[in-house]
């Protein structure tokens, strides 16, 4: 199997793909990026926590106009994963307002986004409707 890399570092690949956040040990605020300190409490100690793979779609848009090279239309959304908000596309669904609604249950899924010149496969993530 080709070597794989995640699209972003907070996506963990393997048999059980999931997202990881950095949680402030002081106040519990969660972040997905490299941190200097906590924006909520100024603490500088973080621990890695696993984000729930299932969540509720809290907001979405269907993007029909995007930067060159970005395929449209696509559904962009904000998912409440058991109290942690996550940004991601809603995938494996027709991108029209009849098929997507806030409050719907979704779960994490991963898929290849392409292969680079060294044969490394990039893996992205999205959220698909449950059931």
């Amino acid at each position: 199997m080709a070597k794989q890399v995640p699209l972003v570092e907070y996506l963990v690949l393997g048999d059980d793909p999931h997202l990881m956040a950095q949680e402030c040990t002081g106040c519990g605020a969660r972040y997905f990026d490299r941190r200097n300190a906590c924006a909520s409490c100024e603490g500088d100690q973080f621990t890695k926590v696993r984000i729930a793979n299932e969540g509720i779609l809290r907001a979405f848009t269907i993007v029909s106009m995007a930067a060159p090279g970005v395929p449209v239309p696509f559904v962009a959304g904000i998912i409440d994963c058991d109290g942690t908000s996550v940004r991601g596309n809603v995938v494996n669904v027709e991108p029209n307002p009849d098929n997507v609604s806030t409050g719907m249950k979704v779960r994490l899924t991963t898929f290849p986004i392409g292969t680079d010149d060294d044969g490394v496969e990039g893996i992205g993530f999205g959220f698909e409707p449950v059931g």
Partner: protein, 401 residues
């Protein structure tokens, strides 16, 4: 307690396409217009605060001085997203409140006609040929479009949808009706970039940008400038009766950023900082939302206007849909909102917007708004918000002189 600050002169250029004028031409037109409106000159000014976002390193303030008057005063070039104009004004206000000078000039200018989609950066690199993690998320390729969207239309679409999820009652049609109102209002504003009334069918049938916002539901990229001369209360008392009559009191000048909230780094939280700014402004001015005769709020998208009814406390919490459906924000309603046509039709030359909104309010408070005059207007509020985020709220009061 620092003394009150007044707007002595204020103006905006026509918003739209100005292919024959560069950024300095537009800024000069607005600045000289404001000075003339105030009955003063550059020699009177003690500070110049100049806002421009898309060309923020150009030093627009000094470029402007070289065309309209180099008097050696301090220049503050400011850039603060869509709150740039409001920030420039507030910079001049603060200088007067600090006792450093009696007169200040604030200018905001932008050349944006023909600019496309804003905010479509998002990625750490373009889709490359070698996947190497970079940036704060260690991304190996462009993330916009792959991990949601950070474009402006998409972001504000989600903000409106989130409000609907929380409180219910929203629909594509409801958001389109907000746009219908603003386009109807624009027909009375000769300085608006677009002054065509649009039917609900036209709005809903237009090109979809980011559901539920179609093109006429998005702010119009265009060129424009606006400028204001501000003066201390003590200096104003020495000026002519005519100047004192037309002066507009800045009853509140507030700038906020977003305090940390869960999710605020995932989907920008435009609500908390706007609510905070509004609360501070009402307290400073000693007025409440029920006292407002008109409001110019930041309808960068139709979906944004809805949430700001609530954030500015023009309605009960969660009651924005009912507020709109009651007819309240129409120009003949209880609290007229965006009688200028709003950013959706007047246009949104970013750095000019935060002063142009104040010009619109002043125009009514002075009783000079012609066909679109809100009769007897005494108090008005102007609101802008830029993602990142920054929120400016100003409350203006008619002079008693």
């Amino acid at each position: 307690m620092a003394e009150d600050v007044w707007i002595l002169g204020i103006t905006m250029t026509k918003f739209g396409k100005h292919p024959d004028k560069d950024m300095v031409d537009l800024a000069a037109e607005a600045a000289r217009g404001a000075l003339s409106d105030a009955g003063v000159t550059m020699k009177d000014m003690g500070i110049l605060a100049a806002g421009n976002l898309m060309n923020a390193s150009a030093g627009i303030g000094q470029q402007l001085q070289k065309q309209i008057g180099q008097t050696g005063i301090p220049v503050y070039n400011v850039a603060n997203a869509c709150a740039t104009g409001a920030t420039a004004l507030r910079t001049a206000v603060m200088a007067i409140k600090a006792g450093e000078c009696d007169f200040g000039l604030a200018v905001g200018v932008e050349k944006l006609a023909g600019a496309g989609l804003l905010g479509a950066g998002g990625g750490s690199r373009s889709s490359g040929t070698h996947y190497e993690p970079s940036g704060r998320y260690g991304a190996v390729a462009t993330t916009d479009g792959r991990i949601g969207t950070t474009t402006m239309p998409g972001t504000f679409a989600q903000i409106g949808m989130e409000y609907g999820h929380k409180y219910g009652g929203t629909s594509f049609e409801l958001f389109a009706k907000i746009s219908e109102k603003n386009h109807a209002h624009s027909t009375l504003n000769p300085l608006a970039a677009y002054t065509k009334k649009m039917s609900l069918e036209q709005i809903m049938g237009d090109v979809m940008i980011a559901y539920p916002n179609t093109r006429p539901m998005c702010s119009a990229n265009c060129d424009g400038a606006a400028a204001a001369v501000v003066v201390s209360d003590s200096k104003l008392k020495t000026l002519s009766l005519e100047q004192r009559k037309r002066a507009v009191k800045i009853a509140a000048s507030v700038l906020t950023t977003d305090p940390w909230q869960e999710a605020c780094q995932i989907l920008p939280d435009v609500n908390t900082l706007t609510r905070n700014a509004a609360r501070q402004a009402y307290e400073q001015a000693g007025v409440g939302p029920e006292d407002l005769d008109l409001v110019e709020l930041h309808d960068c998208f139709a979906t944004a206007e809805l949430v700001h009814y609530d954030n500015l406390m023009l309605c009960e919490e969660g009651g924005a849909v009912d507020f709109f459906n009651s007819g309240a924000p129409w120009r003949d309603g209880k609290t007229p909102v965006n009688v200028s046509g709003g950013l959706e039709s007047k246009g949104h030359p970013i750095a000019a917007t935060g002063i142009a909104n104040i010009w619109e309010v002043c125009h009514h408070l002075r009783g000079e708004a012609g066909d679109r005059q809100i009769q007897g207007a005494k108090v008005g509020l102007a609101h802008v918000i830029g993602l990142g985020s920054a929120c400016g709220v100003h409350i203006l009061e008619r002079s008693a002189a």
